[in-house]
Amino acid sequence: MGATATRNGHSENPVGDGRLRRDDESPSPPSLPGRLARALAGQVTRRIPPADLDERDPDYIRESLPRLWLLSSLYFRGEVRGLGNIPEHGPVLLVGNHSGGNLTPDTTVFTLAFSAYFGVERPFYQLAHNLVLSWPGLGFLRKFGTVAASPGNAEKALRSGAAVLVYPGGDHEVHRPSWESDRVDFAGRRGFIRLALEHDVPIVPIVAIGGQETALFLSRGEGLSRLLGLDRLLRLKVLPISLAAPWGLNVGDFLGHLPLPAKITLEALPAIRLRDEFGPDPDVDEAYDYVVRVMQETLDALAEERRLPIIG
């Protein structure tokens, strides 16, 4: 674990709540689901590829643009606004709200739009959950510039002058119930603010709507995840429950689902330079509240525009 974690930019103790177990705490014997989860965690850990920014392959992205365009234009009727708000050059932290379960159509639509607009030559990385990168058959994502979500990887990418897409809400937000579709929910994760301050890079909020209409998301299943120990072993705080094609009742969404063709609309907002907004030593909480509020206001406006679910 240690070597792989370090290679991936994670700390040696990246999972769980970061607490160390006291010696007098006796570990309870693992249950069968717990043992299964532990075995799965081992598999996942072994499969997480080393964070290598060089794995991004501009030729592959370029050749993939037509199929992304077909998916984005015909199936999701994607609409992306405000790309001109993203600085033309230099490192930038793109902060998005995340929707759509384990298949995230907003990422697909945005990746196409960004790559077509700025050209595949512009370095662009997306931070993703470990499970996404280690899942069989998803290795191609690394060619798109997807790396494991960790401060180390984000730092490496920003130092290289790249645009970095981060979803602070992660698994918590992406599996929120469908009736909370118009809610930005980062679960108080402020790491992106610290990252932007540390590297003095602008934040460009990317607000998306429509992804949560690609299935009927019922619950995050946080209790179920805790019960199975997935939060400690796989950094999975949730075990989502949804009604999704073709499965019907879909627990975990590990095999993905067939997303409904909901219209996806994204809007890139003007860049936020935290030190310009909040002075030389910004308060992290204040900056976080500001970014979330700006995004929520935009999401409210986008929600107002929608007449019907899925149709948009």
Partner: protein, 180 residues
């Protein structure tokens, strides 16, 4: 995939040429075009480079293009340097009504080499949109060029009238008006 459109404009080739070589006018008459920016020291002429984007479907698609053919008042062609493969051409020929008219053809060939069957499918699906953009672009070009022609002719008539009347005043001859 190659798409093209053509139109007859009631203006000499020189007048149309003036429009198609000027990068600052592109956003005013090119439909679907969201960017046509000079990307090198040279704003026009052979070797000039532009950053272009055209909205097609859910994305703005384009890249850096370079002018690779330049034949005064006749042909202007560009080819992509980065981005989606594209080759475009303005083809100006004397129109059916003589030298005071111009037949203008706008061609655009585009695609992504190596993208396989889905790439071909995307080109086919995008073609009606791109063709529509080209047609509207030519209609807008025609309107703008012909309007500019009329404006210039009117200005010439006015300045001609002004110079004639001032000449008549300076010679001391009585002013003549129609019907007098």
């Amino acid at each position: 995939m190659r798409v093209q459109a053509q139109i007859e404009i009631a203006a000499p080739r020189a007048a149309v040429w003036e429009f198609v070589i000027d990068p600052e006018r592109y956003l005013h008459f090119m439909a679907g075009m969201t960017r046509w920016e000079v990307a090198c020291d040279r704003a026009t002429g052979l070797g000039a480079r532009y950053r272009t984007l055209m909205r097609v479907g859910s994305a703005e698609i384009g890249g850096l293009v370079e002018v690779v053919e330049w034949d005064d008042e006749c042909d202007l062609a560009w080819s992509s340097v980065t981005g989606v493969d594209q080759r475009g051409r303005w083809r100006l020929r004397t129109g059916a009504y003589g030298p005071e008219s111009t037949r203008v053809e706008l061609r655009l060939a585009y695609g992504v080499a190596g993208s396989g069957v889905l790439g071909w499918l995307a080109e086919v699906v995008a073609a009606p949109t791109v063709r529509g953009h080209l047609r509207r672009s030519l209609q807008q070009l025609k309107r703008q060029v012909e309007h500019e022609q009329l404006r210039r002719q009117a200005a010439a008539r006015r300045s001609g009238g002004v110079s004639a009347s001032s000449a008549s005043r300076s010679s001391g001859s009585p002013r003549r008006t129609n019907g007098s």
